[in-house]
C-alpha cells in the first residue's frame, strides 16, 4: 500500500554564482511495511531529496504526497509534526533536555500534556532499551545510544513514515547493526514506511528496495520482498536485538 509518493519532483536552487538542479523530476512511491534505501554518491542529491520528503521545503516542481496529501497543500510545520518522522546522522538531540524530555518534545508539540508524554516516552525508551537513561543528557550518551534516543523520539511522533538520513553514518559496526535491526523491524513488523538515505552499500543490499540517485535522477533497484500486512510485537523484537 503506497503511503508516500513523489510525483515528478524537481528541486532547483540558486546560489550566488550558479543555478543548481539538485533533483530532476523524480517520481516514485513508497509502501508501508517496507524499508527503502536511497543510495548515491556524494552530491547526488540524497539529502536534498530526503529533506523534501521530510517537508523541510517544497519542490520547485512536482509534488510530495503523504497519505495522498501534497506537502504543497498543507502547512509544512504541520506536515513535519504529523506526517513524517526524521532521524539524522548527527542525532540532533536538544542538549538542554534529558533523554526523556527529548523524546517528549515532539509529543508536546502535538499537544500532549507533559505528564502523558512522560509516560509514553518511558515506554518508547524501554522499547529502544534506554529506560535507565531517561534522566541523562545527550552529552552523557554514546553515539549508538543517542541514535536510539533519536529513534525513540521519531517513534513518539506516531507517524507512518520514518525518514533516516545516514542513520548509521556516525556509528561503529556494532551500533550500526543494532540501529539497522531496529529500523528493519519497524518497517517489517510495525508497518512503518522506512526510508534510509545512505551511501553504505552493505546497508543498501539489506533494504527491501534500493533506489539509486544519480545526477538528480532516481533509478529504482531491485525489490526484495513485498510489504507485510501483519505486524509482530515490536517490543519483543527490540529487546531481542538489544540482548544480542
Amino acid at each position: 500500500m503506497s503511503v508516500f509518493e513523489l510525483r515528478n519532483v524537481k528541486y532547483v536552487y540558486q546560489t550566488q554564482y550558479q543555478r543548481v538542479e539538485a533533483i530532476r523530476g523524480i517520481s516514485c512511491s513508497f509502501d508501508a511495511g517496507m524499508l527503502y534505501a536511497i543510495m548515491g554518491t556524494s552530491g547526488s542529491g540524497k539529502t536534498t531529496l530526503l529533506s523534501l520528503m521530510a517537508g523541510m521545503d517544497v519542490p520547485t516542481e512536482g509534488q510530495v504526497l503523504c497519505d495522498e496529501v501534497a506537502t504543497s497543500d498543507m502547512k509544512l510545520d504541520r506536515y513535519r509534526r504529523e506526517k513524517v518522522a526524521v532521524i539524522y546522522q548527527d542525532f540532533r538531540l536538544l542538549p538542554m533536555l534529558t533523554v526523556a524530555e527529548n523524546v517528549m518534545y515532539p509529543m508536546e508539540l502535538r499537544g500532549k500534556r507533559p505528564a502523558e508524554a512522560r509516560a509514553r516516552a518511558a515506554e518508547l525508551l524501554e522499547k529502544v532499551g534506554l529506560s535507565e537513561m531517561a534522566d541523562r543528557f545527550p552529552a552523557m550518551l554514546s553515539g549508538g545510544e543517542r541514535q536510539r534516543v533519536a529513534i525513540a523520539r521519531a517513534l513518539g511522533m506516531e507517524t507512518h513514515v520514518l525518514l533516516a538520513d545516514e542513520p548509521t553514518g556516525n556509528l561503529d559496526t556494532e551500533n550500526t547493526e543494532k540501529v539497522f535491526e531496529i529500523l528493519s523491524r519497524l518497517a517489517h513488523e510495525d508497518g512503518y514506511c522506512v526510508v534510509i538515505v545512505t551511501h553504505d552499500s552493505s546497508l543498501g543490499k539489506r533494504a527491501d528496495q534500493t533506489l539509486n540517485l544519480r545526477d538528480g535522477e532516481l533509478i529504482p533497484g531491485r525489490r526484495k520482498v513485498q510489504p507485510k500486512k501483519e505486524a509482530v510485537s515490536f517490543t519483543r523484537l527490540i529487546r531481542k536485538v538489544v540482548k544480542n
Binding site: D57, D77, R78, Y79, L93, L94, M96, E101, P106, L109
Partner: protein
Amino acid sequence: MIIRNGIRSNLRARRRTVLFAGMILVLTLVMILALGVRLYSASALAQCEESYRSIALVEYMGTEYPSTDEPDTAAREAAAAIDGEALRALPGVNAWYRDCHTLSRIEGYKRKGNDMPYKDYGVIVVSRLQPQTLRYWTSSGRYKEERYYTGLITQSLYSYDGKENVFVSVLSDNMPEDVQREDTYVFHGKFVDGDEYDISNGIPTFLVMPFLETDDSPMEKLGEEKKPGEVFQRAAEQYEILNNTVHTITCEDLNDLWEFQQGILYLREGSMPSGEKECVVSPYIADEMGLSPGDSLELTAFSSAEDNFYYGTLSDQRETWTITGVTNDSGDYRGYVWCQAKPPETTLYGYRLGIASLKNSTGIETVEQMKPLMPANVRVTLLDQGYAETVEPFLSLQTTATNVLLMCVIGTAAVLVLFALLFVGRQNETVRILVSLGTSRGKIALWLLSGALVIAGGAALLGGALGFWGLPFAFQWIQDRAAQEGELLRFSETLVNIAKKVNISVTMPILPIVLTVAAIILLALLLCLLFLRTAYRGGTLRRGKSRVHVPSGRTSTFGRGSLRYALLSIRRGGRRALLVVAVSAVLTVLIIVLGGIYRGWENDLDAALHETKLEGQVTSSDGRTFSGLMLKISSVRELYQLPDVGEMYLSKPFSTYWLKEEIPTYGEQGLERRESWIASQPNIVAVNNLKAAKEFYFTDPEIEWADGWDESCLALDTYHPIAYWIDTGHKTFETYPAVVGRQFMESHGLQLGEEFQCMTRIGDWEISLPLCIVGAYSQAGSRAQIYLPLAAFCPPDVVFGEELQGSAWSYRVGAHTLDNYKALLLESQTMETCRFTLTSADHLDETRAHLAAEGFGWPGHLGARRTALILRDASFVKLTENLGRYLSMGRVMLGVILGVVALLGFIISWLLISGRKKEFVVMRGFGAKRRRLFFSFFWEQALLCLLGCAIGCAALLRFYAGGILQWLTLGAYVLCYLAGCAISIILISKMNLMDLLVTEE
C-alpha cells in the same frame, strides 16, 4: 599566498566584516575626536593657567572705604588679626602679602598738581597790612561783621607755587588790634577760596591757622631783621617735605598688586622687576627726575604719624633701587614707586589689608576658604582676570571628552574582543582544514592574523584619518562656544575685574592620533593572538579530552509550551545563562549608580536654584564700591518694580550729628575749623534695614534691641521726613527711634531706651533732634553712625508704594503738601546704598536679560540709567557651572552608556541565539510552530535578562534617587536586549530550513 588568502577569506565574510569594520571605525573616530578635544582643552587650560593671574584682595569695609590713606584703628586691628601663616597654608594660596604703602622722599623731586597733601598750606611774610571789614549773615540768620587784612607777601617761607610780591587777604580771628601798615608779620595758615568767606577782592585769601603740631601762635610780628621765628622756619621746611614725598608700595611680586593685576597700570617702558632692590616708577617721577630703566633711585623713608598718613618725619633710612620699568600715565598713581622686596613692618593706612596670590584653578574655592579666616567686616574679593569664565567651557569639554574617551576605550576593547573571537577564535573549521592540509602552526596564525588585522587596522586607520580631518571643525566649535559664554553672566560679581582675553593656540595632536590608532591595532593584534590558541584548540584533536558542557537536573514535567522549554533552558543553561544574568546585573548596577549620581546632581541643581536667595546691590561703575553712591530714587523705585526683585534695603546718610556740648566754641576756633569739625562728625543715616548700612555689608550686625523694638521700626512709614517738617515750619520734632553705637552710648552715659537730643544740620538749619535709643550695635569702625528710620529722610512709599500723586514743581512754588514733597524726593533726591534680593535663582539668565533691558548696567558696562548692579553670585555661579558641567557630561555619558549598553545587549543576545541554530533546526524539523519557537527562546532570554536586572536593582536599591531616568535607561537596556534577541530569533526563523540543516555553527 597565506597572507593573501587569509585576507581574502576574511574580507569575503562581508556582513561580519562590514559590521565590525564599521564599529571599529566609528569608535576610533569618536575616540580621536574625544582625545583631540581633551588635549585641546588641556592645552587651553594650561595656556590660561600661564596667562592669567588670580589674586584675592583683602579689604576692610570701614566707614571711609575705599580710602587709601585713612588712619582707621579698626582696620589696623583687623589687619593685625589676620593670620598670614594660616592663609599661606591654604592649598590654593601661592603667597600672602600684607599691604605696605608708605611715603618716601626722593632728593630733588617736586610734586606738581593737586595731589600734594598740604598744597594750600603756607608760611608767608606779609607787610603793608591794612584792615578791611567783612560783613555777612550767619546760618542762624544773624548779621555779623568781621575784620580782615590785606597786605603784600614779601617772602614765602613756603607756598607750593612760591607766591612772592603779590597782595593777599589775611583772615584771622586773633589778629592784634594794633597792626600798623609798616609792620611785617609772618603767618602760618592756608590759602583758601575767598568767595567762601565772602571776600571777593580778586587777590588770594590766606586763612591764618594754628600749627599742625605745636600750640605756638600762628602769627608773629617780625623785628628789624625780618627773620621769622624757628617754628615758622621748621613748618616751612616740613611742608616742603610733606608735599614732595612719593608713595612707595612694597611687595614681593609687583605683578600681584591690584593695580598691575587689573591692568590699570602697565609698563610704558622697561620690564617688571625680577629681583630684589628693583623698582618701577610712575612717569611723573621718571620725567621729573629724567630717569629711565636701568637708572638708580635713592629713597629716604618717611615715618607717617599714627593718625595722619601724610604727616610725619623723614628717617635716616636710605635705600638705593634700580629702576626696571616706567608705568603708563595714570592720574591715580602720580608720584608712585613700586618696589619689589619683602615689605617691612609698617602702620596700615587705608583699607587694603593685603593681597593673596592664588592658584587660578582653585580661586573661587580658596576665596571661600579664606573668608572664615578673616575678622569681621573684612571683604575678600577674587580678581581672576576672567579666568573662571574663560576656562569654564574648556573644563566642561575636558570632563566630557575624558569620559567619552574612557567609554570609547571600553567600547573599543569590548568590540575588539568580539572581533578577535569571531575573526580568529571561532575559525576552528578553517584551522581544521589547514591542519588537515599539513599547514604549519605559524602559517595558520599568519592566515588568521593577516585577515583580522587588515580589517581592524584598515578601520582604525580610516577612523584616525577621519578624526584628523574632523578635529579642526571640533576646535572651531569649541572656540565659538567659549565666545558665547561671557554674555550670559552679565551683572555677575565675577565680572568685577578685567576680563583678559587670551588667544588659545591650536596644535593638531598628530602624535596622539598616531599612537591611538597604533594602540587600537596593537590591541587587536594582541587579542587575535590570544584567541589564536582557542581557534587552534577548537580546530584540532582534543586528545580524548571532552569539554562538552553537561547540564544537570532530572526530567521535568513542569510547565507547558514555549515557557516550559524556556524554563528548562534557564535551569540548565549553565555559563550561558549565568552570562546573561551577570551582564544584566552588572549593567543594571552601572546604570543605577550612574543614574543615581546624575539624579543627585539634578537634585543639587534644583535645590541650588530653588533655595538660593541671591542678593544684588548697586555699585560704582567698576563694581568695586557700593557706598557713597548717588542713586536716583526714581531709578531705585524702577528697580524695585521689576518682577524679579524681592526685598530692597536702602540707606542715605543725610547729615552729620553732634551733641551740643561737644562742638568747639565758635569764636575761639574760627569758622573754618567749626565747619571742618561738623563735616568730620559721624553721620545720621536713614535706613529701612540695617543690611543697607555700609558698615554691615560684610558682617551681620549684632544689635541689642530695647524692649518692644526690633528692626522693623526702621521700615515704618509713620515718621515724618525731617526736612519736610522744617519746610512746613515746625520748630519741634517728633522723637525718632535710633540705633546707635555701643561705644557712643558708653562714652555719653546713655542707656538703651533713653532719649537724648542730638544736633544736626538740615539745609541751612542746625536743629536739635530728639532721638530714642531703641537699638545698640557693636560698632566696627571708629565712627559711630546713628541709624534712623528711612522715613526720617524719605517716606518708604516713595520707593515701594503705589504711583505718587503729588508734583515736585508744586512743592517748589510753595505747595508744601506731603504728596508734593514725595514727588520732589522722587525727582531730585538720591540714596547712598541699595541692596536687593532676587525672588528666585530659577530664571537667573532671564533676570539678567530683564535688568539689561531695563537699562541697568553691570561692572564695566554702564546702562542707560548710568547705574551698575552686581549680583552676589560667585559661589552660586561656580556651583551651578560645576553642576551644569556634570549634568551635561552625565547626559553625554548616559547617552553613550545607553548606546553601548544597547549595543552590548543586542550583540550578546544575538551571539547567544545565533549559537543555538541546531536547536532551531531540531525544533523546526519536528514541526514546532514559529510562534512557539520564538517564545521558547524569547522567554528564556527575557527571564534571564530581567533576573539579572532584578538582582542588580536589589543590590543597589538604596542608590535609587527618585528619578525615572535610571529606570528609563534600564528599560532601554532591557528593550534593546530583547529587541536583539527577537531580531536574531526572527532572522534565524526566516532562514531556509534547508540552509539551516547544512549550517555549521
